[in-house]
Amino acid sequence: MKWTFENGIPIYMQILRRLRTEIASGAYPPGAKLPPVRELALEAGVNPNTMQRAFAELERDGLVYTQRTSGRFVTKDTEVLKNLRKTLSDDVIEEMCGRLIRLGMSRQEIRSAVEAWASANGTEADE
């Protein structure tokens, strides 16, 4: 997928957001090897130091670990991955509900609308 960046938000934060999402969604599955910094920097068209900074943050959060000779890997810690998914989904819910409330919807209306969406769009078993 092509990399695009928004104005006014530090590039490393935008990279971080995207990599977190890719780890949470399993695009980079647990234990998968991440591409080298320079390769990913080239693909994204960003400065390698900026990419390095995003990787360092991922490492600090325990989402990625470094094996000295062979590179960087996604954590296999299911607890960490579960928490990541929770954090990311909470952000989405927060943003969506904020927008719906600004549109004038009540909490009850939002709840029914989400339920209506879920039943109109298949069941858990489809996933």
């Binding site: 104005n7 938000i9 530090p10 920097a41 068209g45 960003v46 390698p48 130091n49």
Partner: protein, 231 residues
């Protein structure tokens, strides 16, 4: 330690002051954008670093030395105009550079020319303007230099080639090198920059990390530039 340092650097052309006592210190391992409107002193600064001009007052130091023959062996310079002998073909330019610069990596240059589909048997003069600029950049980036001074490297080429050129810059500078890119096309380069230096009428208006600038102002470097230099 700084690899390029300006101390009270001043350059006057007669009664015109192009650079007015600037202090600047640039570290290795960074890609730095030198931006500012026309006539703000960008090219003057780069020419001083390359000993094509001499300071009126103050000094400029490359790895602690005054610019001269010795510093040119560690600085790879791309002028803002055509500088290669027009009668040579691309292949003989490669050999010319290999003879001239100890740090020239001919295999890297050949590989880049091939990926840009540039025929090495073409005479430089017969290439299109954009292709000539690409050849010049290939030559400049194929040196394993400590400092790259790129004066308007993307101004004359199409957007697709711009992308390729920026990737060439990210992909080829060594991790301990300084890359200084002068440009007024900020939107095209801002994602590759570590730091940006804003010049305004011979003064340094701002020298900041680009992500810190985005965070502080809530704007892209390009938008912030338009704000600072609004006419």
């Amino acid at each position: 330690m700084a690899v390029l340092e300006c101390i009270h650097l001043t350059k006057k052309y007669g009664s015109l002051t192009a650079l007015d006592s600037i202090d600047l210190s640039l570290e290795p391992g960074r890609i730095v954008g030198l931006v500012g409107p026309n006539g703000s002193g960008k090219t003057t600064l780069i020419k001083l670093a390359q000993h094509l001009l001499t300071p009126t007052e103050g000094e400029i130091l490359i790895e602690g030395q005054e610019p001269g023959a010795r510093t040119k062996s560690i600085v790879s310079y791309l002028p803002d105009r055509e500088f290669l002998p027009a009668w040579m073909n691309v292949e003989s330019l490669l050999y010319f550079y290999e003879d001239f610069y100890e740090d020239f990596d001919i295999a890297r240059a050949e590989q880049m020319l091939e990926s840009l589909n540039i025929d090495p048997h073409m005479t430089f003069r017969k290439l299109s303007k954009g292709t000539r600029e690409k050849v010049q950049l290939v030559m400049t980036m194929s040196r394993n230099a400590g400092i790259y001074l790129l004066d308007e490297p993307i101004a004359g080429v199409d957007p697709a080639a711009r992308d390729y050129i920026l990737r060439t810059i990210i992909g080829n500078y060594s991790e301990n090198a300084l890359v200084l890119i002068s440009t007024h096309l900020i939107a095209d380069v801002e994602t590759v920059l570590d730091e940006v230096v804003f010049l305004k009428q011979g003064h340094i208006e701002l020298h900041e990390n680009t992500d810190a600038l985005r965070e502080r102002t809530g704007m892209s470097v390009d938008n912030y530039f338009r704000e600072v230099y609004r006419c």
